[in-house]
């Protein structure tokens, strides 16, 4: 391993995850922390923690200059951005190169090309990956109406600089289109600094299926199978699993092949995810976007393949070729991940903060917990509300569901409100049991959740 010391430009559970991956590879870690995370578990586990700024992310975790300065000043030779924050910033990747740091991720060009969703659609089409009927950039209501006539209704207006479920508006009536266009552009400009919009067909009954790929700088690309992430609340994933259940073999194979084709065509390097929408009514699948970083839900893939994705990122970044080929990837069993967040389901999922007084995770083999929480941990108000990812493995999906529910019910957390009970409800839903869930299942059933019943 040619990397000697890695700056981790992230926080929370993924910072802990990356520390573990580095330590196993003999790489030293420096964790960049905001003032709010000085005493975090990641800070304790890392070889060193440096405080890069105040709690608010724009002055700490989102500041390229501070992150790169911290890496250089502490003698790091590489930087791992985790997910979120600056993980898909082409600017950070470029700044790393300029300062002699290895960016643990794809090239700035990959980040730029896939960060611009219109560009990403174009690359997918060029690679022969099916994309949704839609448009290039849409500038005027007239253009939008013309696209709508071709695409049909409903359609979805998306921000080209958005992604990950942010900056989207569904339009059911063409008459709404002009006003949606105006507000969407304004919101995109405010949120992403770029008002560029495009239009795609909206799939009513959709599954979200994504394929994990891994490429090295020598042009080798393998896929590590797919994940189903259909259980989403407001476009945010809540429960993920691998493999995707009840997927016809030909669809599964076609998705794998499409993802590899796209990654190969652009010479993709590092871990990446090609996201697809699967139309339940027609069985067709279409490219949505490509995520050019480690995903929150990567543990389910690790559990069913046995491959450590974060370590693979580090190896590829160090210039190593992939040590295995497609035929060496053995898929076994089923894994389910539940995202436990500090939110109060009974109060419309209001984010909660405060001190965790009781933290008693379920134990046992085949229950994996990725977390930065400990008894006494103070959940800060400044960041997202993810407390832990509870991932279970079992030989079959039914056993994995049972194991997940048992683990959730044994999880003792007090001090902050959490979604543990809600997750138990979700994983216990018949739509999940029979694998008929769609991206609107949570919205459909959420009213049936009685938080008082939850343990």
């Amino acid at each position: 391993m040619s990397l000697r010391r890695v700056l981790i430009a992230n926080r929370g559970e993924i910072a802990v995850r990356i520390v573990h991956a580095c330590r196993e590879l003999g790489i030293e870690t420096v964790l960049a922390v905001s003032e709010a995370d000085r005493d975090s578990l990641g800070a304790r586990l890392a070889d060193r923690a440096v405080c890069i700024g105040p709690p608010r992310a724009p002055q700490s975790y989102l500041d390229i200059a501070r992150v790169v300065t911290a890496a250089v000043a502490t003698g790091c030779d590489a930087l791992h951005p985790g997910y979120g924050f600056l993980s898909e910033s082409a600017g950070l990747a470029r700044a790393c190169v300029e300062h002699g740091l290895t960016f643990v991720g794809p090239t700035a060009e990959h980040l730029r090309a896939m960060g611009d969703k219109i560009s990403a659609r174009r690359l997918a089409r060029e690679a022969g990956v099916p994309t949704l009927p839609g448009s290039e950039q849409v500038r005027t209501p007239e253009e939008a109406l013309a696209v709508a006539r071709g695409v049909g209704l409903p359609l979805i207006v998306k921000a080209s600089a958005g992604g990950g479920g942010r900056g989207m508006k569904v339009v059911f009536d063409a008459a709404e289109l002009p006003s949606v266009l105006t507000t969407a552009a304004a919101e995109a400009a405010a949120a992403f600094g770029d008002p560029t919009l495009y239009i795609e067909r909206f799939v009513r009954n959709a599954r979200h299926v994504e394929v994990q790929v891994l490429g090295d700088r020598y042009g080798h690309v393998v896929h590590l199978g797919e994940r189903d992430c259909s259980l989403q609340r407001r476009n945010q994933k809540v429960v993920e699993e691998a493999p995707a259940p009840a997927l016809p073999a030909e669809v599964r194979d076609a998705q794998h092949a499409a993802a590899v084709r796209l990654a190969e065509r652009i010479g993709y390097e590092s871990a990446g995810t090609v996201e697809f929408v699967l139309d339940r009514d027609t069985g067709e699948f279409f490219f949505l976007e490509m995520n050019t970083r480690i995903q929150v839900e990567h543990p389910v893939t690790e559990l069913v393949t046995g491959i450590d994705l974060v370590q693979q990122q580090l190896r590829v970044a160090a210039g190593e070729p992939l040590s295995f080929g497609q035929a060496d990837v053995v898929h076994r069993g089923h894994a389910i991940e539940c995202r436990i967040t500090a939110e109060v389901p009974s109060e419309n999922f209001r984010p909660d903060a405060g001190r965790i007084t009781v933290w008693e995770p379920p134990g046992g083999p085949n229950v994996r917990l990725d977390t930065h929480c400990l008894p006494g941990y103070l959940v800060p108000v400044f960041y997202d509300s993810l407390l832990a990812k509870l991932a279970v493995y079992a030989p079959t999906r039914d056993e994995a569901i049972a194991r997940a529910r048992s683990a959730l019910r044994r999880f003792g957390i007090e001090g902050v409100g959490t979604t543990v009970g809600f997750l138990d409800f979700l994983v216990g839903r018949p739509e999940f049991a029979d694998a008929t869930m769609t991206t609107h299942t949570i919205a459909d059933v959420i009213d049936q959740f009685a938080p008082a019943d939850a343990a």
């Binding site: 003032e35 200059a65 501070r66």
Partner: protein, 169 residues
């Protein structure tokens, strides 16, 4: 705070148990609390001798971690608002308004902005901190005499690190 004879209430025990847990999570060896006729001692190893008039042990201080860094030419560009001064044992602390490289001088070869014994006003620039070619000037934020410069020129400083101490006028 307590009547002549009383036992330990639930609250008392809860409080002591919390102290035990708090100390246990910390890196310290012992804790003593005295309040009126209440006295609590928790610790590892042999307990401290029950001195009558022992001053409390000095609080452990986490020193700012400092590391060498590359030295680009300092070119002041922006001015950061002075951080609120905080009083400490050694005087008022001037802390780093941002993480970055500490510069004691406006340019290499020039004399430092301030030295020990210098008198500073609230607005006196005492140092620069650089983050990737962006320079933040550090104002004293307090009137008084510089009694300590805690960081060496071109050291890397974390956000909030103590740069200097000033004996307020």
């Amino acid at each position: 705070m307590s009547e002549p004879t009383r036992g330990l209430t639930d609250d008392d025990v809860d409080q002591v148990a919390r102290l035990v847990e708090s100390l246990d999570r910390s890196g310290f060896d012992f804790l003593q609390v005295e309040l009126g006729d209440l006295r609590i001692t928790i610790g590892t190893g042999s307990p401290p001798a029950p001195d009558v008039a022992t001053p409390p042990p000095p609080p452990p201080v986490v020193a700012p971690v400092v590391a060498p860094a590359a030295v680009p030419a300092p070119v002041p560009q922006t001015v950061a608002p002075p951080p609120p001064p905080s009083v400490n044992a050694g005087g008022v602390e001037i802390t780093a308004p941002t993480m970055g490289i500490f510069y004691a001088r406006p340019e290499p070869g020039k004399p430092p902005f301030v030295a020990i014994g210098d008198v500073v006003e609230e607005t006196t620039t005492v140092a620069l901190v650089e983050v990737m070619k962006t320079f933040h000037s550090v104002a004293a934020g307090v009137r008084g005499t510089v009694v300590e410069v805690c960081v060496s020129d071109t050291d890397f400083v974390e956000f909030g690190a103590v740069l200097m101490r000033v004996d307020p006028a």
